[in-house]
């Protein structure tokens, strides 16, 4: 008999194998929802698939009478904007700091400890400070995302840069490179694929912080909607929203992955 570790399903086999557990989960949900609705036709906890489809169709097609905008679209745009700006700020900060900390030992000694300290502070615990400093507008939401992920990314990138073979830095200096050139021509380009990788890992926390920020103070956004309708336990809206967020997260991950492969082919080839 072939050893278990040597059984490799083909392409079709993999797709079917992957779908099965998801289908089972869906089935369990349908049965549970059906049971609750037999007991209480108005049950809100596990809405039927039909009810969710209705709710989401309504939010995705009918403009809100008050604002004239399509709710799902407006929420998505608002959230993606915050997420995008927050992540962009974090990325740029982490890139610059990571580069400086990684390349310049003196800066690593100076800023390393404070970056570590900031990295371990759970950002949601200091939300009040953020509001007081930045107000309740977009700034504080964007800041929560940025503060939430930038320190981790910075440490990750700095560690990567200082882990680059010392031979490269020596070689570059024998080729006449100064400190600035070492940073931008040796460290920076090699850091880019790592940056995207670090970013991919940080997207999960970024969504968490976005939702947390929108739950605290907001009038639009995916997290806002989820926490608003939670007030009347509208699971028929919450569940499709969660699914939608998951799909957006998967899409973002795929885009980043593809981007990295396209932009930095040398980083994805077979290493020798």
């Amino acid at each position: 008999m072939t050893r278990l570790v040597n059984i490799r399903p083909g392409r079709a086999g993999r797709i079917i194998a992957g779908i099965v557990p998801i289908a089972i989960l869906l089935l369990i949900y349908i049965i549970a929802s059906d049971m609750r609705h037999t007991a209480n036709p108005n049950d809100k906890v596990l809405p039927t698939l039909g009810a969710m489809a209705d709710a989401i169709a309504r939010l995705a097609t009918t403009p809100d009478p008050m604002t004239g905008r399509i709710t799902l679209l407006a929420d998505t745009m608002a959230s993606l904007y915050r997420l995008g700006v927050g992540v962009a700020i974090a990325t740029v900060t982490a890139l610059v700091l990571g580069l400086i900390l990684g390349v310049v030992p003196l800066m690593r000694a100076t800023l390393g400890p404070i970056v570590t300290l900031i990295a371990v502070i759970p950002p949601i615990a200091v939300l009040p400070i953020l509001f007081i400093v930045l107000g309740l507008g977009e700034a504080s939401k964007i800041a929560l995302i940025a503060i939430g992920i930038a320190p981790y990314m910075t440490r990750d990138l700095a560690a990567y840069v200082s882990g680059l073979p010392v031979e490269q830095f020596l070689k570059a200096q024998t080729l006449g490179a100064n400190s600035w050139q070492l940073a931008i021509r040796v460290a920076l380009p090699q850091l880019m694929p790592k940056l995207i990788e670090s970013l991919r890992f940080s997207m999960g926390p970024a969504w968490v912080f976005l939702i947390a920020a929108e739950a605290v103070a907001s009038d639009i956004g995916l997290g806002y909607r989820i926490f608003l309708v939670r007030r009347y336990l509208a699971m028929d809206i919450i569940l499709p929203y969660v699914l939608w967020i998951s799909l957006l997260a998967i899409a973002a991950d795929l885009i980043l992955h593809t981007l990295s492969r396209k932009a930095f082919p040398w980083a994805h080839g077979d290493a020798r």
Binding site: A39, N40, P41, N42, D43, K44, V45, D54, A55, R58, M66, L127, P128, I129, F131, I132, L134, G135, L136, G137, A215, V216, A217, S218, D219, Y224, F227, L228, R230, R231, Y232, L233, A234, D236
Partner: protein, 343 residues
């Protein structure tokens, strides 16, 4: 199903011994915490041969959601949330105790403003779809404005105090204890509070109708314990003060602060008073206002096509809305037993 009404559910539920009652920190519900810590609740539960677990939930909405999902047998709730969450979710709910109404515990506070008129056109931070939202709607209505005259931003109750510290926030609607912190801030003026709409924001103890039908002892024990605490508090003696100090401690605040909150809470210390209110026509008027607001904000869910979709039952078989779909029942009979000393 809904047409069979509570009878069907009553059959489904068997009597049981142990009950979970949820509550969250709020001036009008702190007596429950005291009842538990002081052993009063256990005394009454023992008397009726049952066990009652009082479960503190930090997040108020979560406690109501848990009740609606069937994880709790009863929960401390406002009249509005009892209507829009469990009742609108098909969970037949009985109002066992009308504990108090907010008599200034909810308010609207402005920076750089002296009256409701200054609210027009501003952005108001509040917990959307909560009693604060209702308070705002009523305040605007009484001042000749509409909800559309202001913009609202949903703000979590835990963060509303720090929100008000932020310069770009100039108007909030909040409840206590946050309200007292907000009022105390420099340049803050309270332009409206719930004392101007007495009895419209009520703090209740609600329990599942089916559970109560199957276990009337639960109702008796809860009501008995509640009014024993009320009696202690009403006396105004050293024991009352000690009890109130302890409640303050449990609420995470100072005794002074808590006393200030209590002042803004109209507690029905005596069961007779609560029963009298429950029997009066006022209650129907007040609940009607609440349900109109709730329906207008879509809180009855997408399936509800009219404000009458969900029925509210009162003493003596009076109802508002769909008689065949009564999901929230004001039942003063247990408070009546307390008033009659029959517990």
């Amino acid at each position: 199903g809904g047409k069979e009404g509570p009878a069907a559910e009553t059959q489904a539920e068997a009597p049981k011994q142990e009950f979970n009652i949820g509550w969250s920190i709020y001036a009008g519900w702190m007596p429950w915490a005291y009842a538990e810590k002081s052993g009063i609740l256990k005394k009454w539960a023992d008397k009726y041969g049952i066990k009652i677990n009082l479960i503190q939930v930090n997040d108020y909405v979560e406690s109501i959601n848990q009740y609606t999902a069937g994880k709790l047998d009863g929960v401390g709730s406002t009249n509005m949330d009892a209507l829009t969450i469990p009742a609108a979710g098909g969970k037949d709910t009985t109002v066992l105790i009308i504990g108090d109404y907010s008599n200034g515990n909810d308010g609207i506070v402005l920076k750089n403003g002296a009256s409701m008129a200054d609210l027009k056109g501003r952005t108001v931070n509040l917990v959307e779809l909560s009693v604060s939202h209702y308070l705002l709607a009523r305040a605007l209505e009484l001042s000749g404005m509409k909800l559309a005259d202001v913009k609202t931003v949903n703000t979590s109750d835990a963060d509303i105090v720090s929100a008000f510290s932020s310069p770009d926030v100039t108007a909030v609607a909040a409840w206590n204890p946050q309200l007292s912190e907000i009022k105390a801030a420099k340049g803050a003026t309270m332009v409206f509070d719930s004392s101007k709409i007495p009895n419209e924001i009520q703090d209740l103890m609600t329990v599942s109708t089916a559970t109560l039908k199957a276990n009337p002892n639960l109702g008796k024990a809860l009501v008995g314990a509640w009014y024993e605490v009320m009696e202690i508090m009403a006396k105004g003696d050293a024991k009352a003060n000690a009890a109130i100090d302890q409640m303050a401690q449990l609420a995470g605040t100072t005794p002074e602060n808590y006393r200030a909150q209590l002042k803004a809470t109209y507690l029905y210390y005596k069961p007779q008073e609560a029963v009298a209110y429950a029997l009066s026509p006022d209650i129907i008027k007040h609940e009607d206002a609440v349900r109109q607001f709730s329906f207008s904000k879509g809180l009855f869910g997408p399936a509800a096509t009219s404000v009458d979709a969900i029925g509210i039952g009162f003493a003596n078989d009076k109802t508002l809305g769909d008689k065949a779909n009564v999901k929230l029942r004001f039942d003063p009979s247990f408070m009546q037993m307390a008033a009659d000393g029959k517990l």
